[in-house]
Structures are given as structure tokens and as C-alpha cells.
Symmetry: C3
Subunit: 127 residues, 3 copies
Amino acid sequence: MKLVSIVAALALVEYAVFFILAGRARGRYGVAAPATTGHPIFERYFRVQLNTVEQLVIFLPALFMCAYFANEGMASALGLVFILGRALYARAYIVDPAKRGPGFLLTIASNFLLLLGGIVGVILEFE
Amino acid sequence: MKLVSIVAALALVEYAVFFILAGRARGRYGVAAPATTGHPIFERYFRVQLNTVEQLVIFLPALFMCAYFANEGMASALGLVFILGRALYARAYIVDPAKRGPGFLLTIASNFLLLLGGIVGVILEFE
Amino acid sequence: MKLVSIVAALALVEYAVFFILAGRARGRYGVAAPATTGHPIFERYFRVQLNTVEQLVIFLPALFMCAYFANEGMASALGLVFILGRALYARAYIVDPAKRGPGFLLTIASNFLLLLGGIVGVILEFE
């Protein structure tokens, strides 16, 4: 589980970058805590961060389940697709939220396949 | 840990459904990203999704801890109660947020018991 | 992994307290679901809870990776620093959001070190 752990750590580093960018945008665009709205550009950074949380909640357990019950190499490859998709999503979202589609679909698709791989893998183990 | 892994995967599938429903509501009720407010029905779907994230953060580690350190069958049964509670919660919330109580309490209670089971189990292992 | 599991469970108990406090503040300050804004004091409690979710997403996997691939005692100690930092953060945030800095930095720093420890640990295992 070393390979897939590195992939998980990379996804967390990417998320930490989103977290830092959102914090910086809070200062730059003058949105004082506890508000999470008030400036459209800050809201983009904040949504990039929070949407990543919303997806990591599936990604992290599905990644390890897929690696453990199905195949670690396949899970790691799908994990890299997820990380790439998140980067594309974030870059597009900051420029124009309407263009976030392709990166978003890439992360949704890899999450779906990881979850499917994990479920199929664990069911086959029962035989 | 196969049984409890399937229960975890089921909870993730349920969450993915909430995620998709919130995305669809965003389009249907005309709430353009990055906004997360603007139409009361969309806000219900979005809160169902986000509140599930807020609870999965306890549920997933507590489920595996309870299965590993206490009893896998008990953890799996409590996990199914959580999944059922979330379904009741989501259905009630969409119709009328004031009626979300029973489903909410079911998920809170199962999370509490899973966490308690995990903590008691790990403490007993130290003996 | 017993020691680090107890630390993880403690962090979840702390988060559950934030969850309960935010729920109570919702009632006390008259913010009816699905709204998450409307009263500045409720918004503080809600942000304390949600920001903790945003950090637990790194904390929980990084804690276990650091314990597993690097050193369990070190990971557990950093985990306790995280829990303490979150308590300071929550207390300061409720009184005055502008004073949340020190507790926030403590949790960011421990998360950073846990993630670094996990990454270095897993890379060294490849040798």
C-alpha cells in the first residue's frame, strides 16, 4: 500500500494548496471571517476548496478500498487522474466558473471508477 | 474487514446520490456557481449533501475503528442504521427542513455508538 | 496503531462537540435550516465546525500515514497538538474571529508535519 499512500498524500498536498489559496483570497478580497461570501473571486477560491473536500470524502476511502480489494496499480493511476482533474478544475474555476466542467467530470469519473473497483473487488473476495 | 468495507462503500454511494441531486438542483433552480444560496429548494439539496460530509467525517473512521477494535458485525449493523437514517433525513429535508429531526437523530445516534464502540474497544485492547 | 487510534478518536470527539455547539447556536440565534447565515454568532460556531471538517480531511489520513510509515509516538504527539490547537482556535473564534490566528496556525503546523512525516516515511520505505 506504499504506492497508493503516496498518491493519497499527493492529493492532500494539492488540497492544502487550495486551502492556502482560499485563505490568501480571503485577505486579498477583504472577506472577513466568519463570512464565506461577499466577493465573487474569493467565492470561487472558497468553492474550489470546499468542493474538493466534498470529493475527497469519497476519494480517500475509495482509493484505499480499490487498491486493497482490487488492484493497487489501477487505483494509483485513477488517483493520479483525480489529482490532474482537480488541478484543471481549479484553474478553470478561478478564471470562469462556467468552464469548470471538464476538470470536474475527470474527478467525478475517477471517483466513480475507484468506488466501483473497490465494491467489485470486495464482492469477488466473498466467493 | 470485508463486510464493513461494503457498508462503507454503500454509505459513499448514498452520498454520491446526494452529490448528484445537489448538482441537478443547481441547474434546475438556476443557482450559478460559485453561489451556494439563491433558491430555497436548491439550498435544501445542498445542505443535505454538506451535512452528510459533516457526518461522514466521523462515520468513516468510527465505522472502521469500531469494526477493528470492537466487533465487525455490530459496526456493520450500526453502519446500516446510519445509511437508513441519512435516507430518511434527506427525504424529509427536501420536503420540509423542519421535519429532518428523526433521520438526523438516527445518524447522530449511530455515529455516537460507533465512536463509543471504537474507543471502548481500543481501550480494552491495552489491558 | 492503538495509540494513534485513540488520538484520532479524541479529535473526532472534539469535532462532535463543535458539531453540537453549532446545532445549539442554530436554535439559540434563530437561524432556520437550510440557511447557514443570518446571525453573526451562529456563523462563528458554524465556521468553527466547517473549518474543522476542512482540516480533518488532511488530519485523519496524515495522522495514520505518519504513524504507520514514520513513527507512531511522534504522530500521536502531533495529533495532540492538533487537538489542542483546535480547542484554542474554537474558543478564540467564538469570542472574536480576528483572534483565531494562533490556534489556527497550531493546527496547520501539526497537519503540515504529519503530512511531511507520512510522505518522508513512505518514501524511505521504498529504498
